[in-house]
């Protein structure tokens, strides 16, 4: 299948991941691990977060942050792939090169980016494809993220399309290779590049230099990163320094080998039998996470409690979020925020109730998008080798005292 076609197909089948066949030896899924401690080490421009690695830095946002529509920059998750990240970039000297099949090669300074192009903003969720990977059993290879490899920010920058128009794309060009400036330890290691098809570019795909009204933190890609709303974060190249326009697609490790799911209807396979054909992860499926209360919190009997959280999908938009307090037997609608941040952003939800019984209480949240796709129960999610695209109904267990 041509890449362009499966991008389209991915958009259609996303969210239908839970449908499919079961096999006797199938892997299983459950609630992701949720008891990781916040580190006592603070990384540059960050508060202390859940820390999986310092080199390259891998930081997870704690659950309680997911009550806000916009994730604060200093609590926004971090994921790099190479050990050497530039630790200083002079904003006066930094340029993005645009070259290849263009009429006029460009070297765009930050000043030009901010002054010579139309400035646009988009609020969008950035989520690692492996977010919640710790839900998969047997353990899927990769960092065992809980629910916090995600965040939502208001991104400001310039449309990638406008930059390409300025350069003038030559006839026959089809692909864009967008390169980040992180470097490997060995010269031979391939650079971190994302190939984008020109058809993928819409008005929402931007090169962003601002995040929630501030410079991007270094660890989130200062000074500029790619923003592709609705799409998993491996595509959102950080610290972009080069864009090459081409008529050829170059096979890439991260896109064609690492961040992939089985290319079948259920995007699933068994631990024993890997599905031979794969496709890159692309559009995000519908998901919600409860930010308050968190596991182990105490609620007071008969006192009004308000459950809060965030819901999002790949851009269709959230229709409802439902809450269950009886193990999924009955569901009630939560109240959604106005949605003014747009269809790519978090919708915050809230649901108030009076705990009526002492002891343990399970609170479940399920989001449904405007296409009618809804989150499956954790146990109904099908296993895949990479532990990608988990979107099970979130469950938080509290104690009523």
């Amino acid at each position: 299948m041509k890449r362009r076609e499966f991008f389209k197909k991915a958009a259609v089948t996303a969210g239908a991941a839970a449908l499919g066949t079961t096999a006797a030896e199938a892997g299983t899924t459950h609630q992701p691990i949720d008891n990781r401690k916040i580190s006592d080490v603070a990384f540059p421009e960050k508060r202390p977060l859940i820390t999986y690695s310092d080199r390259p830095p891998l930081l997870e946002t704690p659950r309680e942050v997911f009550t806000c529509a916009l994730t604060p920059n200093d609590q926004f998750f971090v994921r790099w792939h190479m050990p050497d990240i530039p630790t200083y970039i002079d904003p006066d000297k930094f340029t993005i090169s645009v070259n290849g099949m263009v009429n006029k090669a460009l070297k765009i300074s930050l000043k030009e980016l901010k002054e010579d192009y139309e400035q646009v903003e988009v609020a969008a969720v950035l989520q690692c494809g492996g977010n919640s990977r710790s839900a998969f059993s047997p353990t899927a290879g990769g960092i065992q993220w809980g629910n916090g490899a995600m965040g939502c920010a208001l991104w400001k920058g310039v449309r990638l399309r406008d930059i390409l128009d300025r350069a003038g794309v030559k006839k026959g060009a089809e692909w864009l290779a967008v390169r980040g400036s992180e470097k490997a330890a060995y010269y031979e290691t391939p650079d971190f590049i994302r190939e984008l098809h020109l058809d993928e570019l819409d008005d929402h795909v931007i090169i962003a230099y601002q995040m929630n009204g501030e410079d991007l933190p270094y660890l989130n890609g200062f000074p500029v990163r790619l923003v592709i709303p609705g799409v998993y974060s491996d595509s959102w190249i950080k610290m972009i320094d080069n864009i090459t326009v081409s008529d050829k697609y170059e096979k890439l490790f991260f896109m064609d080998h690492a961040y992939v799911v089985p290319d079948n209807e259920c995007e699933c396979e068994t631990p024993e039998k890997k599905f031979p054909k794969t496709k890159p992860i692309y559009r995000m499926n519908v998901k919600s996470v409860i930010g308050y209360p968190t596991n182990g919190d105490k609620l007071t009997l008969k006192s009004q409690a308000v459950v809060r959280g965030v819901a999002f999908d790949g851009g269709a938009g959230i229709k409802t979020v439902k809450i269950s307090l009886d193990g999924g037997k009955t569901w009630e609608d939560a109240i959604l925020d106005s949605g003014k941040l747009g269809r790519y952003a978090y919708r915050t939800f809230r649901y108030s109730f009076k705990p009526k019984k002492l002891g343990k209480l399970e609170i479940m949240a399920k989001a449904i998008n405007k296409l009618g796709e809804e989150q499956p129960l954790a146990k109904d999610i099908k296993w895949n080798h990479g532990g990608y695209k988990y979107n099970g109904i979130d469950v938080v267990t509290v104690e009523v005292v």
């Binding site: 690695s53 310092d54 050990p83 630790t87 200083y88 290879g141 000074p223």
Partner: protein, 102 residues
């Protein structure tokens, strides 16, 4: 006249950045297990990534760990000899294994 002066001023002002000097990414000591082959793990793996990458993969089969070592050689071009690859795999499986060959 006033307008021209202003424009010149803006043009000369350097871009303001939140961070004006080199950032320092802190070192985190991950509780890696000691044992046979650790020196080889240290010499080969630490070039590219912290021990956090090892201990945060979960318990895995021998084939999984061998696959990870091969990935480093094939895709990331790490110059790991076959002899070292075996030692690293054995170390990983012994300390971070799930007891299964496959």
């Amino acid at each position: 006249m006033k307008k021209i002066v202003l424009t010149t001023l803006i043009a000369l002002t350097p871009m303001m950045a939140q961070v004006k000097e080199k950032i320092e990414v802190p070192y985190v000591a991950f509780p890696i297990k000691m044992g046979k082959g650790f020196d080889v793990v240290q010499a080969n793996c630490l070039m590219c990534h912290s021990f956090g990458y090892i201990i945060n993969q979960g318990r895995q089969s021998k084939a999984f760990w061998r696959g990870k070592v091969d990935k480093m050689i094939v895709h990331f071009k790490a110059p790991i000899s076959e002899q070292d690859a075996k030692i690293i795999t054995d170390y990983l499986f012994e300390h971070y294994g799930n007891g299964k060959e496959k």
